[in-house]
Every structure is written in C-alpha cells, then in structure tokens.
Symmetry: C2
Subunit: 652 residues, 2 copies
C-alpha cells in the first residue's frame, strides 16, 4: 500500500516537551557535535571525522584516525542538520553543511566510491572485507544524509553524490558473474537504499536491497569466501581471532532470514536490517518477507524487549541474549538500538495499522532514546541500564560497559548523532499517512498539513504530553476535507475518551486505533483524554530478574528511584502492594516534569558493617517507613553519580 | 606458640559422611586422576602432565603440552596419594607413586632446577618471568608433595629432590647482589616452604619466605623490571597485552602487604599467599605480619565471603570484587579458592584460638569444597554458583565461566587434585594441637592419638555429623592424661550442650570454644549436642543480591532449590515468613542425607508465553501454594542439568 512520508517542512513540532528537545538539538547538540567532529571539545575522546574527509579529498596531509566507520558520524550529523533546517531555517548552519557536502563530494572517487578509511589507509582493499569493515554501512548513512538533505533543503549535491555511490555499489554487488555475491556485516545500506528508492524511484535500488537481503546467510558463506581470499586476515580480533567472521549470528548472517526464528546477535544490526526488510516487503508486496518481519518482530517485542524500550541484554557483542533473559544491571540496551527499534516499528506500522508497533515506538522514544542524552544536550549514554550501583561498577568487570553518568563523547560515537537525527526527524514517527486514513501514532504537539488526494488536511495537535492527560486535535484546513482520522489508543491507558466538538463520540476501534471518518471542517476539535494514573507494572513471570518486583509507569514514562532522592542501598527500599501514589510537580532540572511519591519501607540495620558475612543470623532485617520519590527514568543521572533502579521489591 | 601438626598415621577418619568421601577419593578419585594425568579418560580435556615429565627427563620424545603450571597437577596428585597412604596402605598405589617420584627426580637438573615447561620448551628463559609463568608455584606444589610423601611414607626421595630445588631457589632469589629480587606471580611457594621448614627445621627456608613476602609489591616493581629485561614480551595476553603484569593487584603485588587493606585480585592467589604469611607470622613471632593477616582476613570474611564459603565474586581475573558485592549467578567462587580459604583459616586458628576461623573453615568444607566434586568422584566444578538458570548460560556471555553440571576434567585442572589432597588431609583441619589444649575444630568422626607432653591423649569422635546433632567424644587413652579439651561451639548453633559421662558439665567459654580441663580417663565420654533446626538466614542489608531473600541452613549445610524437585522458574518460588520446616530422609543419591520441605508459593500465570513484553499490565502475578523441597547445596547438579538457587524470595 502506498504510504506517503510526511514532508517535514509542513510538520512543525510545537510540543512543550519534545519541542524543547528539538530546540536543544538545534541550539546545543548540533553545534556541540560539530565541535566534536572537529576535535574541539576539551576532555572528550577525539573524532577526527572531518579531518579524515579532508585527507581523503587531498585537502590536508595526515593519517586516518578513528573507527573504520568514522565517516558515518559526519553523515548522521548532516542528516540531523537536514531535518533541523526543515523545522527552522538557519543560513549559517546550512552554509557549514554545504561546505561539508562539498568536502564529501571532493572525497568521492571518479567511479563513485566514497569511504575515507579505505581511501586514505587501504585503497587496495576496497570491498574485500564486508563482514568486518562497514563500507556499506558508511555508504548507507551517507545515502540517508543525501536523501535527508535533499528533502530538507531541495539541494541535490549530496543526493547526486550518493546516487553515484549507490550506482557504484550496484555495479560491484549482485548475482552476476564478476560481481561480489556479498552483503554488509553491519546492515544499514538496505534501509538507506529503500529511502533512496522512494526519493528517486529508481528500481535498481530496490532490486539491490532485495539482493542484499536474500543473499544474506546463504551457503557457501560470503564472509568465509572473502576471508579466504584475504588469506585469513581479519580486522577485529578483540574477542578472539576473526570472531566477527566466525560468529555469523552476531551479524544475523548465520542462516537466510527466511529461516531465522529469533532476534539474535548485535541488536543495532538486527533492527537496522529489519527496518530495511520491512520497507522492502511492503514496497515489493512480498508476503513471505512480511511474514519474516512479523515473526522476528514478535520474538523481539514479546520476549526480548525491556520495559524501557531497550534491546540487547548483554554487553558481549552488544547483543540479544535469549527469550526472557533481561538482566537489569548488566544489560547493554544501546541508545542506537532503541533508535533502530523506532525505525523498525515505523516500517511495521506502515505495513499494518496495529498500535502495538506504535506502543513499542513510544516506549523506546520516551524512555531509552530520551534517556540517551543528558538534559544539557552535551552528555550521552551509549549503554542504558535499568539498575546501577556505582560502587560495584569500579570493581566488578561484568559492569565494564556501564557508565554511571553520561559521557561527553565516545571513541565509537554512533549514539550522539543518532539521537540528534532521530529527534529532528520526529515528524516521521508521529503520523502514518495512508490513503485511507491519517494515523496518529504519537501525541507530540505539532501543526501539520497532510495531503489527502488533491486536498490538504491541516491539523494541530496540542497538549502537554506525556505529563498531562488531555490531547487536543484541532482541524485548521480552510476547506472541508472528507477523511478518516485514526487515533492510537495507547496500551498503557485503560480508559481513553474521545470528544468531538465538546461531545462524546464513538468510532470503530481496530487493533488499537480509534477510527473517525467525517468531513473535517476548520474549527473541528477533538479532545482525547488519556488518563494517566500511576500504574504498578509486574513482569512476565518468565523473566527472573523481575520476580517479586514492581515498576512504576505513568503515561509512557517509566519511573525509577535515584540515590539523590532516596539515599543509598536502593535495593533495601520496598513498595507496599497497597501503596497510593502522589504526583508532584518537579522543580529545578525537573521543572515541568511530574515526579511520583509513595509511602514505602526501608530495610535497615543500625550498623550493618558490624554484621560479618561469616556469620548469619535468623533475625529478619527490620524495616522502617520511608517516603519514596520516583523520577522519570529518562532523566536519571542528571545530578551526578548515584544508585538508580527501576524494578523495586514489592512489600506486603 | 608451638603448634604440632597431627600425624595422620595416628588420625584415622571414621566419619560416616566424610569417611565415605575419603574412601571415594581412595577408590575412585586418585585412580581416575591418574588416568587423567596419563590422558586415558575418553572425552576429557587432555592433561599430558606425566608425558611432560618423561620428555623433560629425556625418557620420551615430544613437545610440552598444557598450561605453564601443568606440573602442579602431578604434585597435587602425589600429595593426595601421600595422605591417602596414611589412612590406608596400598602397595600398588605406593609403587606407582614411587615411579612418578623417580620420574620427577629424573627431570631435575643438576643444579636443582625442576620445571618441565621451561626444561622442554624454553630452557634459556628460566626465572625470567616470575609474574606470569608459575615456576615458583609449581615448585611450591612439588615441595608440598615432597613434605607430604615423607610424612606419609617416611621415604625421603621426593623430600631430597624438593630440598635441592628449594636450595636452588634460595640461591637464585634474595636481597644479595647477583640474586633476583623477585617473588612469584602466583603465591604457593611461601606456604610450601613454611611446611618444608617445619619438617627440616632449616632456617633458610623461613628466611626465604620472609624475603618473598616482604619484597612483594615494593618499588621499583620487580614485575616491571623483568618485563623490561624481556623487552616487553609477555606470556598471557588474553585480557590485553601483558595484563597480568600490568594489573598488579591481580597478584596482590600492587603495594607491600603491610599497606594492603582489602582482599583483592585473584582469590586463590590471595588465600595461598595469606596461608604462608600467617604461618610465617606465627613461627617468626612477627606481630606486624599478624596484624596484616588479621586485617586482610577480616575484610575477606566480613565483607567478601559467600554463604557457601566461596570467595571471588567475578570471573574476570577469578577475583574478588568489592565489599558486599556478591552476585549469585555470575560469581566465580573457584573450588581451589575455598580450599585455600580452609588453609588460611587453619593457619589463623593456629595463631589464635578463635572459632570464627573454624566457622569459616567448616562453611567452606561442607559447602563449596564438597560441592566441587560430584557424588561419583569423577566430575568436578571449577566455578561454584549460588544460582543457575541453564537456558541463559548458553546465550548470555556473562555466564561463560559457569557450567550447569560438573565436568570430567579441565584444560586448567587445578581443582580436581586439590579437592583430593584436601579430603585426604582432613585430619590437619580437625584439630589444632596446642601445648595448652587440644582444640577440636570440626566434628568429623575419627580416632586419634595426640601427644601431650610425654604422654598420648587418645580419643575417638563419633556421630553422624552434619546430619545428626549428637557428637560423642570418647577417651581411649589407657593411662589418664591431664589436659584441656577445647570444643568448638559452632556459630550456627544457638544452644549447644555438653555432657560428661552422662551429666551436664560446665566449662569456660572463650572465643567460641568450650574449655574443659581434667585428668582424662579411658572410658570418659563427652556428648556434645548441637541442635540443628532448619535456620532461615538473612543477608547483610549491604548485599543487594540478597535483599528480600532468605536462605536455609541446617548445621553447617546450606540448602538450595533444584529444578528436579521443584520444577522450572525457581525465581517464582517464595518461602513465607512463617513457614515451618520438615526434615526428611533422602533416598537414592540422597540416601543418608537430610532434605528439607516447606509449604511455599509459586507465582504463576496460565500462559506467560502469551503475555508479550511490549505490554505490561497492573495485575499482580497470582500465587498458588506449592510444597518446596530443599537439598543440601553441595549435592546439586547430580541429577543432570537444571535450575538451582540458594537465595529464595521471602513471602509475607
């Protein structure tokens, strides 16, 4: 079915909450990351990404520095700029971006090839190590940037560059003799080429995606073939010789996708791959691939998803673990994985109007994605734990990947610019624009003009989501438009109510959407009331890490305890079964946020240091009443280092 | 103070429980391990340890194979044989051991040097890599074997070999010019030389121990000096280049022992080092070293000890973590570490008659040490978790070190022969033979003759510990002996009672020992009653992994739930605060063991697979009554693979 991507020029975010985030990205994050890409942030890990392009373009002398996929940081920054310019023009920023694009173009080879690592460091080794070396991954991010910059500014230079790059790739890879029968170690090119296909309508890009996806995991295995051609040399040996080549499930390449039953391997790779595959399945009407997407979505979302919208239970391989294995403290839950999860959910929603995809998208956005960035826009989490005990992080190596506070930048800096591009392109996730209906997935305040046939449906969503329960949808089209609006009824809301022009209105409900068809007139006003009592959530009993525990959620926001409010040893705090909750308005960094308080208990002992572990006694630890304060989890660790925990022991 | 080590020829174990274990070691373990050392166990990892000696002795062609410390497996086997021969002569076994000793002697160099790895593989590199290469560790085990074989059989050949080896080491190491100012990466030589000193009374051995201990951790650092001499080559690079040299705390060499405040680094190294140091402190009347031992014991036993007598909270470095960080599932708790802990406790007891050391010794023995070996004597644990969820072990790499069932043998096979030598030398731990009193630390059934001045106190301990609460101590000396008996009152027993010849008797109690001085006559009979109700144990509230949970202990035995008795998802079983316990006699592999039953609950849900993780609801998981069966933890995993857990959620 034909789905139209909203033009972000006609979709202005006005949300009091996420609008602030977008502004933060414009005012702080994009300039900050520009400084980072140019190595001008004191005490941050160096990037060298712009220098790499200058060297590759012959404009500077020097050596390549950074990860083999360092180029992608520049591409994601350009993409963030592109979407940001849709929201708010900025001539100076656009000029800087144009210069970067000219630099990127200058680094492109005659034949279309474009990658600074190989250009500078190993020009003879192009396309010899797909399993490990991220050439197609970097190309994918450049293609996404090219599409975005074209959509954001109407300028074609980067689009032309990436078309030339994509065309080059199309000559190198494919089923014909003389072509490489390969596909990337890190998926990304697939979802990017699908976007390029949508913009250019060149079928060869869709065909290439199909090739990459269908070749994946077939035998004889391409990663082994190229490994042999390289005489057994490998780029990554940190987890054993050639581990990335040998552990094919890490890259979802252990078998053809049609045979894969579970979300497995590196979580970001998985969701990027599935995003491209779902897009392909829809645009090529491929029922078999749609079933593959459904099956793998279901395994991930039903059995391997955290309450925070995080995925990837383990640090080793930044990977999924197994069904219902969801450790709170050793979890990986990379920020990028939740961004990729939103992308995958978006493409699933485009295949099927089922609100479960939007529920997951919202859970990921308001929890892990927002949590990945500090409230100051200058510090970032790569890993997003649900429980942290800082004193143990220093000594127990199972926590080596966990940071108790957000970092300025990373040697592997995939997450910060990814958050920036996600937040600036939020408009793509709010609506699904189908011919038969306009689906509203997220209640982010915005004004939009959506084409309906030859007409335009104009509307404005307002309110103060996710803090307040009323969402208002005003129709602002100057002429009446006959159309169906489909409002998502969030899974967390037991009793949603819809009013039209002040009167209760009933509509049909299907798969979590409330459908209302009519001729919409200027001044029509829908009020959606989504009651947001504090909810006690209980884990699936198959998840052992949640047994006996309870978590709090209000609206889409998961809450947590922090040491700053509740003292040390959060594991000793318990929440009674029958407790009542008070919501209070936050102050300081919590201004405009809702906090939760409840009367609970603290297990205590006067001098636990005097109770030696060689002796145990039978006297239960006593407990005292203790007022507990919960903050929205996405805002944790904004007050320095301290303990944090989402799942709290329940007391009777 | 002069402490006499009991002569194991005069100390015959007759314990119904541990006597069976000793018999298992004699009949099964020692022959099985002999087969293993000779690579004759199908499906087990190869050892090659005997072949290495043959090659080093020039009796066979071939290459060295195995760990750099492979020799120590042979030494520990010889030690186990030596102690076993005290208990029960076995001419055939002794002949085999004599042949091994002749082989070891044949592998010794003219100058006394003895190590098959360096002899075969790197003869020029002797004593060039103390930090990493275990030469002194292997020497220590050979010395222990030489002492044991002399004590066990009266034969001097191996003692002479190891004295020659020790003398060689004494020329190589020391403070003089031309000597190496070094010390081992893996302590062991210290405790071994102390034993050699006790047998030979050669002061140079004690002086050498003092040198090794006092040089440790001083600057400029010996490990760095030898590393530079080697031009930066290193043997172990698995955790990064030269990690074992750089991470000096791993070997307790980051600072002088006098400055160290916490149990740190590789747990086996720590307890081996402390065993030697405590022995040295006592025999050299060194108050400062005694204080060092006390301080480090206290940190370990008060803040880093598991309820099972396990130590070493993490796999990385097989190491301690930090105070009160005691994960149940990712723990290391190596079998060897608990054996070393018993050795350390024994030496502390010899310094100070305080039952806390014996309490720890008993906890380690009856839980982790026994648990390290299967009931069949042919399978072993290296790592001893307190909680296992086998399905997660396969996918989540935080569990890579954990095995759900005991293994036949190991590439690094330190644990199996260590368990064998510990069990055959149990007599050394039962008593502390002081001039002023005979201390009974463990209530293991045995008959012993203990020198008291010119006389002998003969006694017999009987009962059925740890299953039954009465321990009988009969005096069997033909002539009266005036002496003090000091009976340990276990920390787990609230109400111990002592009867002498059928009448209640009072004695003085000091630091956990009950003192009774009198003229002991043949036929005198003490009955010590140690009531063993099932005890509910609560963790220190600083240990977050035990919060809200309870463990069961009866006598010294910690109990656990197993899937075989209680079904899957043990995390959903809860034990009510007010539950009562039934002890029942086990059958089958649990014959002669006491099991525990209690009425608890199982949290359940009819079809949890249908409750997807993308949706949470507020309905608490319901619970049904469920009878829980607890088995002694040391006997877990003797019925195949399944879940296991010690700390159980408490229900109100």
């Amino acid at each position: 079915m034909s789905i139209m991507e909203p033009d972000l020029h006609n979709l202005k975010i006005s949300d009091p909450f996420l609008g602030q985030y977008q502004q933060l990205v414009r005012d702080v994050v994009i300039p900050y990351q520009w400084e980072a890409l140019n190595d001008r942030i004191p005490e941050a890990e160096p990037s060298h990404a712009i220098s790499n392009f200058r060297i590759a373009a012959g404009q500077e002398e020097g050596e390549f520095y950074g990860m083999v996929f360092q180029d992608s940081d520049v591409a994601k920054w350009l993409e963030a700029v592109a979407w940001s310019l849709c929201q708010q023009p900025n001539a100076e920023l656009e000029k800087t971006a144009d210069e970067v694009i000219a630099l990127v173009a200058a680094a492109q080879h005659e034949d279309g090839y474009l990658n600074t690592y190989f250009t500078v460091k190993a020009p003879e080794e192009r396309w010899t190590n797909l399993a490990e070396c991220h050439e197609l991954y970097c190309a994918g991010h450049l293609i996404e940037a090219g599409v975005a910059y074209f959509q954001g500014t109407g300028k074609r230079q980067l689009l032309d560059v990436v078309c030339k790059l994509a065309d080059h790739i199309d000559t190198v890879f494919g089923p014909s003799e003389g072509q490489l029968h390969g596909y990337p170690g890190h998926p990304e090119i697939e979802l990017a080429l699908m976007r390029l296909y949508e913009v250019t309508q060149q079928p060869r890009y869709l065909t290439l995606v199909k090739y990459f996806i269908e070749a994946r995991g077939t035998q004889p295995h391409f990663y082994d073939i190229e490994y042999e051609k390289r005489h057994g040399t490998s780029y990554w040996n940190s987890a054993g010789p050639a581990w990335m080549i040998k552990d094919k499930a890490y890259s979802q390449a252990h078998q053809p996708l049609a045979a894969q039953q579970t979300a497995i391997g590196h979580a970001v790779r998985f969701v990027y791959l599935m995003t491209g595959m779902a897009h392909l399945a829809r645009l090529s009407n491929d029922e078999s691939k749609r079933q593959d997407c459904l099956r793998l979505w279901q395994n991930m979302a039903q059995r391997q998803l955290y309450i925070t919208g995080g995925i990837g239970s383990q640090s080793s391989g930044e990977a999924f673990s197994s069904d219902y294995d969801l450790p709170n403290d050793t979890v990986y839950a990379e920020s990028c994985a939740s961004i990729g999860l939103m992308m995958f959910a978006r493409r699933m929603l485009e295949m099927e109007a089922d609100s479960q995809y939007a529920d997951v998208m919202e859970r990921a956005l308001y929890n892990t994605v927002l949590g990945g960035m500090a409230l100051d826009g200058k510090h970032f989490f790569y890993v997003n734990p649900l429980e942290v005990h800082p004193e143990s992080l220093k000594f127990n190596h199972i926590y080596d990947h966990v940071k108790p506070v957000r970092q300025r930048w990373f040697g592997c800096a995939c997450c910060p610019p990814n958050i920036a591009r996600l937040l600036t392109s939020l408009g793509h996730y709010i609506y699904t624009v189908r011919p038969d209906a306009l689906f509203i997935n997220l209640y982010v305040g915005n004004s939009a003009a959506i084409p309906v046939g030859e007409q335009q449906l104009q509307l404005r969503i307002s309110g103060n989501f996710p803090w307040q329960e009323q969402v208002k949808i005003d129709i602002t089209s100057p002429v009446p438009v006959e159309h169906t609006l489909a409002l998502r009824l969030p899974d967390w809301c037991d009793d949603p109510q819809v009013m039209l022009n002040g009167e209760a209105v009933s509509g049909s409900i299907d798969k979590g959407y409330f459908y209302l068809k009519r001729s919409w007139h200027e001044g029509d006003s829908l009020i959606l009331t989504l009651p947001m009592p504090v909810r006690r959530l209980y884990g699936n009993p198959l998840v052992r890490q949640q047994a006996g525990k309870v978590a709090l959620q209000r609206g889409p926001l998961v809450y947590c305890l922090e040491e700053a409010d509740n003292g040390k040893s959060l594991h000793n705090l318990t929440l009674p079964v029958a407790s009542t909750f008070t919501t209070i308005a936050g102050t300081g960094i919590f201004a405009h946020k809702v906090l939760i308080q409840a009367e609970g208990y603290r297990r205590s002992m006067e001098t636990p240091e005097q109770k030696p572990l060689w002796h145990y006694d039978s006297a239960p630890v006593v407990r005292q009443p203790k007022r507990l304060t919960f903050i929205p989890w996405f805002s944790w660790a904004n007050r320095g280092e301290g303990e944090m925990r989402i799942w709290v022991d329940e007391a009777r």
